[in-house]
């Protein structure tokens, strides 16, 4: 056992340790920082660019190499490279700074892209650009949660952005056909869910074209289906009501 004094203490720099428990034993391999994720995603194809050495350790910082018997027992092979690949693929590791940074950045962009796709400026009915959303997200100090899906977070972001800027989910344009009998009663119930009623046509049936918030769609759908027992119908005219084409000021 070595004695750790400040002079002979060796710091492991540029080393990322990947650990894996198998067969009741803990195995570690020494890798370069910021490389393991690239290997896992397939961007890095050269194993030597990932592994510091092809040996498997019990404890990397102490320099204790795993015994051959333990390896064969746990992995069924003594081919060190093969074992290293297995550990690389399945082991757990501390994500390095740059890896985390790129991951968060990518997620941040992704969220902004989703928000920009779903939302419009209510005044002009035109979408905001991704970079503008990104800036707005930074302004409200939104922090990305790496373990939540980007779509969930995007919906959260939209809610928060509404407080600081003019933003709105792009409306869906729906056509509702309601049987005459239930039309009046249903309409009252639907009213709070509809944003804008564009046209209303009441002869045998009540036919309405309206804009709704996409979040309310399921509710409306449910309501019409249950209340009319399949006689009323709902039709999506467009998923996103946005201005098309370029406009000159």
């Amino acid at each position: 056992m070595s004695i750790f004094t400040p002079t002979n203490q060796i710091r492991l720099t540029n080393v990322a340790v990947v650990r894996m428990k198998k067969g009741g034993k803990r195995f570690e391999i020494a890798c370069y920082k910021n490389k393991v994720m690239s290997w896992r995603s397939g961007a890095e194809k050269d194993l030597d660019e990932v592994l510091q050495t092809h040996s498997v350790f019990v404890n990397v910082s102490k320099g204790q190499v795993a015994k051959k018997d333990d390896l064969t027992k746990a992995f069924g092979t003594d081919d060190l490279t093969e074992i290293c690949k297995q550990i690389l693929a399945k082991g757990e590791l501390q994500v390095s700074d740059k890896e985390r940074q790129t991951q968060l950045e990518t997620m941040f962009r992704d969220i902004a892209t989703i928000v920009a796709e779903k939302c419009v400026n209510p005044e002009t009915k035109r979408p905001y650009t991704v970079s503008l959303i990104e800036r707005a997200m930074k302004d409200i100090h939104y922090s990305v949660k790496p373990n939540k899906s980007t779509k969930q977070q995007a919906l959260e972001v939209i809610r928060q952005l509404k407080e600081s800027m003019e933003i709105q989910r792009a409306h869906m344009r729906l056509r509702l056909v309601l049987p005459a009998k239930e039309a009046k009663r249903l309409k009252e119930k639907l009213k709070p869910l509809l944003q804008v009623v564009e046209s209303e046509d009441f002869d045998e049936e009540l036919e309405m074209v309206c804009l709704v918030d996409p979040g309310c769609f399921r509710e409306i759908d449910e309501l019409i289906r249950c209340e009319t027992r399949g006689r009323g119908s709902l039709e999506v005219l467009s998923l996103k009501d946005v201005e098309e084409g370029d406009e000159k000021l």
Binding site: R11, T13, N14, Y32, K33, N34, K35, S38, G42, A43, E49, V50, K98, E99, T106, M107, F108, R109, D110, I111, T113, I114, E117, V120, N121, T124, R126, P127, Y128, T129, S131, L132, I133, R135, D139, K151, S164, M165, E166, I167, P214, F217, R218, D221, G230, S233, L234, E235, V236, L237, S238, L239, K240, D241, V242, E243, D246, E247, K248, L249
Partner: protein, 1067 residues
């Protein structure tokens, strides 16, 4: 000369014969504003000591800072020559190429131009441009050769050398004029020949007879020559200048030679024989011109510098005592007077040149430039410029006498009341907010000239847009000329009414209020901002034809996307951009479909100015400008026959591609996905009930182009189909029916061959958004669905027999989603045909299969198609939602069949979409780039550099040709939009401004390199190495888009593991 009072100027304005409107034009830094300073100083507005340093007409802060003029500004000056008094309306224009639009606006209002040329630099690119502009607007130029002192101080030329040098410059300028002249003559002749071919008698030009060609046309009057009196030599910074006339005068006194003779001989190959006291021809050594030049050089103390103002101060230390008195005599007149004089002599008749723009039948008053009370008013507004409201005379403070103060107070009170009243009238239309008030600080003043009549304050006039046609309005309004500007004219296009609320005399940075302005003057008009966008014609008569719009030398080409720093300030930005659009003749602003606010400017300097304006004047918010988003398209191509090193390919390439796709699809449930070697992808929904087989086929290029150009037709087609499906009948015009059948026929002719047999009939849908350039093809055996062309065969009962299968709509929706965002970088697809070859639904509810055909026709009336249109959502959530809605309309047993995977229709949408994406990936994929066509005008000597810049930016030259009669080449090239950022700037820099490009979007082009390409064959390994790290254009674009969108980019975070910083951060 003392300060000229306002009253004096007003009185001068009444005599159009003595009004001279002139502008100063030159290359950047040749001394326009300095010259203008001299002229301003001659009126005592600024001290003559400060002339040249103050740059009085550069009133903007950034103009002073950068030392270049950025806008044209006008000033009215008084000048007396002999017993005549003249009014000079002087317009100083910018010389930088980015602001040549300002030059156009200035030139239009003038009758004469002062073209300034640097004596050392000679003719520069912008000099050529302004000469051309002056030529096009048909105004008379006078040449000022400026900075004469540099010849001595910097170049140290002797007088003889200087004379030759000046002669050379003159020749250069005349060469440019000559080129303009010849090209015009040749054009005219070409036009004439064409006309003659058509057998028509051409009226031709009234002034000249061009028909016989170049040699018979007299062009001598066009050229600059000192003996014609249209050349002035000057050093504006020192404030002196003279033309040959002055010397002729002096010499004639001294030598007793007639002034006229001297005028002709002082410049040229003549010498003075002292013995004979005669002027002889053919001098070689001491020409008179040399003597002439020598005279003014002798001003300088021998060793070197010309002292500023030495001439005017009369006390030069002339080295040649004999000529001392001459010089003193000569130089008493400063440069301002000399230039003025030349103008007074040259422009005998005002406004004659502008007859081109108006039909003379209409207004004799116009030609006479009449200021009669009853003459109709004609005013041309060439630009709108923004003025800080504080600078307006109404708001300015000035020392006044007691009575005046009292009077003013009364007036002010009245005016205030008026304004309040006006505002209270306006209030309903404007929402009252503090922002509104803030904005009101910028007022727009129109930069205009009166051509006829007398403009009065508060007068009501018609505003005629450039497209206004008097004939049209005359037919609607009767009686034609009796119609006054107070009538209602709302129904006539391009015509509106307004009143001129304020009239201003433009005095550089200051404005003086006027009550009325007679014809022939340049003036500012306030209160037009709501009626005039950039330029317009104002008249009291609707019978007046409008002036032709300005011809700009530079078109806006530099595009940037603009965003506010704080997203909540978006409305302010939009308002600011609107104002900018009005204030700048050459800036364009637009909002794109992506939501980007794009500003298009003429160049980088212009852009900088526009951004400054937005920040400080119009929007007053922090903004940022960035590269605009560049769109791409994704497509597939036929498998290539040769590899990257031009070797014949066998089967291996295909295998490699398929291998690659298989790799990509690993990790997905590969038991539901099957890919066969011919590119057919079969995908089963997660509940194992439905299976679709899709194959992607590249469409021929022409077919894609056809589909793209006829998107309008397809949209109508789609609308018709929609309404047909709903059981309604929509009336469509015969013309659109024709268009549809045309489209069908064209498509049929383009899609030929075994593969496309009967394809047009089998088209299922177009996409994305139902009108895009991609096709969904129905190749399912035994599925006869109504054709998309059914509107053509209406009434044909045969179509009734075929009907839609259940979930037909889900398939279309899946296709639309797939076509909207491709697998490469989520950009729309283009030119891809997805052929559905298999579609099985093993439903738990058997009646939904093909045998439900009979009842389908009835049911579908009740359950119209769902329409997933205009969607860019690819999320499963929305698919679920879409699924939900179609699901809702199914019969109960269908609803019952939904399981843990969600409704069947939703699953089918997802399945079709995925199948399309995989089918797409099974083919060789390519990126398509938007292309600009780029037209470049360049002189022969910079041709090579133009090619260099084009090559560097992946441009491709289509053709080049020489313009007849000139040494200009016109090059036509295509350039990817992605490479165009900074292109204009680079090409200008590299060619020192001699080439000016124009970019127009033209088409989409497939980038030939494969973004996923890796070396596969032996030869490719040899040529490119294992990593293939030579730059792949398509990959570069693709990754840029993916990175922008936050998609996964296959890229290493750190390239070399060992080269990382190995120490801890605190070490």
């Amino acid at each position: 000369m003392g300060h000229t009072s306002l009253e004096k100027i007003i009185s001068l304005q009444r005599n159009p014969a003595n009004i001279r409107n002139l502008c100063i034009l030159a290359h950047v830094d040749h001394g326009k504003t300095t010259l203008a300073d001299c002229l301003v100083a001659s009126n005592g507005i600024i001290s003559s000591r400060l002339a040249g340093k103050l740059r009085y007409l550069d009133s903007r802060e950034d103009e002073q800072l950068r030392g270049i003029t950025m806008k044209s500004s006008a000033i009215s000056l008084h000048y007396s020559h002999g017993d005549q008094e003249y009014l000079l309306n002087l317009i100083d224009s910018p010389g930088h190429v980015d602001f040549s639009s300002e030059v156009s606006t200035a030139v239009r209002l003038c009758d004469g131009a002062v073209v300034v040329v640097d004596a050392v630099e000679g003719v520069c690119p912008q000099t050529q441009v302004v000469l051309r502009q002056a030529w096009l607007e048909n105004i008379r130029p006078v040449l000022v050769i400026n900075k004469i002192d540099r010849l001595v101080v910097e170049l140290k030329l002797t007088s003889q050398e200087a004379y030759t040098h000046l002669k050379k410059i003159l020749e250069q300028v005349n060469a440019v004029t000559g080129t303009l002249f010849t090209s015009k003559v040749l054009e005219e002749r070409a036009g004439k020949e064409e006309e003659e071919k058509e057998g028509e008698k051409s009226s031709g030009d009234q002034v000249y007879d061009w028909s016989a060609g170049l040699e018979e046309v007299d062009d001598s009057h066009l050229y600059f020559s000192p003996d014609q009196g249209n050349v002035v030599f000057a050093s504006a910074i020192d404030g002196w200048g003279f033309s040959i006339r002055h010397f002729a005068h002096i010499y004639s006194e001294r030598m007793g030679i007639k002034e006229e003779v001297l005028l002709k001989t002082l410049w040229g190959d003549f010498y003075l024989s002292m013995k004979a006291k005669r002027i002889m021809k053919g001098a070689q050594v001491t020409q008179l011109g040399g003597l002439f030049v020598f005279t003014f050089f002798s001003l300088s103390p021998r060793p070197g510098r010309i002292q500023p103002h030495v001439g005017i101060k009369q006390e030069a230390r002339p080295s040649d005592p004999a000529s001392a008195d001459l010089i003193c005599l000569t130089l008493r007149c400063n440069v301002g007077r000399v230039v003025c004089l030349d103008f007074v002599l040259l422009l005998k008749q005002l406004a004659v040149c502008l007859t081109l723009f108006l039909h003379s039948w209409c207004f004799p008053a116009f030609l006479q430039c009449s200021s009669e009370e009853d003459a109709p008013v004609i005013v041309f507004v060439s630009k709108m410029f923004a003025v800080d409201a504080k600078a307006l005379p109404q708001h300015r403070q000035r020392p006044l006498t007691q009575e005046e103060i009292a009077e003013r107070r009364e007036q002010a009170r009245r005016r205030h009341a008026d304004r309040m009243a006006a505002e209270s009238h306006r209030e309903p239309s404007h929402s009252e907010s503090p922002e509104e008030e803030e904005e009101a600080k910028e007022t727009f003043v129109a930069f205009a000239r009166v051509y006829s009549g007398v403009v009065r304050k508060g007068q009501r006039v018609f505003v005629l847009g450039p497209k206004y046609d008097p004939a049209q309005s005359l037919s609607t309004v009767s009686p034609p000329l009796g119609c006054s500007a107070s009538d209602d004219v709302s129904e006539i296009p391009h015509l509106s009414r307004c009143s001129m609320e304020n009239l201003y005399l433009l005095m550089g940075r200051e404005l003086e209020e006027l009550q009325e302005v007679p014809a022939g003057n340049v003036l500012g008009i306030g209160g037009l901002e709501e009626f005039v966008l950039k330029s317009a014609t104002l008249s009291t008569s609707p019978a007046c034809p409008p002036f032709t719009p300005l011809n700009f030398e530079a078109t806006p080409i530099v595009r940037v996307a603009i965003e506010p720093k704080h997203p909540s300030e978006m409305p302010k930005l939009v308002r600011g951009m609107r104002l900018l659009n009005q204030a700048d003749p050459c800036a364009e602003v637009l909002i794109q479909e992506t939501g980007e606010h794009v500003l298009v400017t003429a160049g980088e300097v212009h852009l900088q100015r526009c951004l400054d304006d937005l920040r400080e004047r119009f929007a007053k918010i922090e903004i940022s400008a960035s590269e605009p988003i560049i769109p791409f398209r994704e497509t597939v191509v036929r498998p290539p026959k040769v590899d990257m090193v031009n070797e014949e390919l066998g089967k291996q390439q295909k295998v490699a591609i398929i291998h690659q796709v298989k790799e990509a699809s690993q990790g997905r449930s590969s038991d539901t996905l099957h890919l066969d070697s011919s590119g057919l992808v079969t995908l089963t929904t997660p509940n194992r009930l439905a299976t679709v087989g899709v194959r992607a086929i590249p469409l021929p290029q022409e077919a894609t182009r056809l589909l793209e150009s006829s998107s309008e037709v397809i949209r109508t087609l789609e609308q018709v189909n929609m309404s047909l499906r709903e059981g309604k009948s929509l009336d469509i015009s015969v013309r659109s029916l024709e268009a549809i059948s045309d489209l069908k026929a064209q498509l049929e002719s383009l899609l030929q061959g075994r593969k496309w047999r009967n394809a047009v009939e089998r088209i299922w849908a177009f996409g994305p958004r139902r009108y895009g350039p991609n096709i969904l093809l129905n190749s399912v055996e035994g599925y006869q669905r109504p054709s998309v062309w059914q509107c053509l065969s209406r009434g044909d009962k045969a179509s009734e027999a075929t009907a839609l299968r259940d979930f037909d709509n889900s398939v279309v929706s899946g296709f639309q989603l797939a076509a909207l965002s491709g697998p490469m970088c989520e950009e729309p697809l283009m030119g891809v045909c997805f052929s559905v070859e298999r579609w099985d639904v093993q439903s738990a509810a058997p009646p939904q299969r093909q045998d439900s055909v009979e009842e389908d026709s009835t049911r579908h009336e009740a359950t119209p198609e769902s329409n997933v249109e205009g969607s860019s959502e690819t999320s499963a959530r929305v698919e679920g939602a879409a699924a939900g809605q179609s699901h809702a309309r199914r019969r109960p047993e269908v609803a019952a069949s939904s399981d843990c995977y969600g409704p069947v229709s939703g699953q089918l949408i997802a399945a079709v979409k995925e199948a399309c994406r995989h089918a797409f990936q099974a083919q060789p994929q390519r990126l398509m780039a938007a292309m600009y066509t780029c037209e470049i005008m360049a002189t022969a000597d910079v041709l090579g550099r133009v090619y260099g810049v084009l090559g560097k930016r992946e441009g491709r030259v289509l053709h080049e040709e020489m313009k007849e009669g000139t040494d200009m080449f016109t090059i036509k090239a295509v350039l990817p939009v992605a490479e165009s950022f900074g292109f204009a700037d680079e090409i200008r820099k590299r060619t020192s401004g001699l080439a000016s490009p124009q970019l127009v979007f033209s088409h989409w082009e497939v980038i030939s390199s494969d973004p996923y390409w890796v070396p596969t064959t032996e030869e490719e390994y040899l040529h490119f190495g294992e990593k293939a790290d030579s730059e792949n254009q398509a990959l570069k674009y693709m990754n840029a888009v993916r990175r922008r969108k936050g998609l996964y980019v296959e890229e290493k975070i750190v390239e070399h593991a060992e080269k990382q910083r190995t120490l801890g951060k605190n070490k």
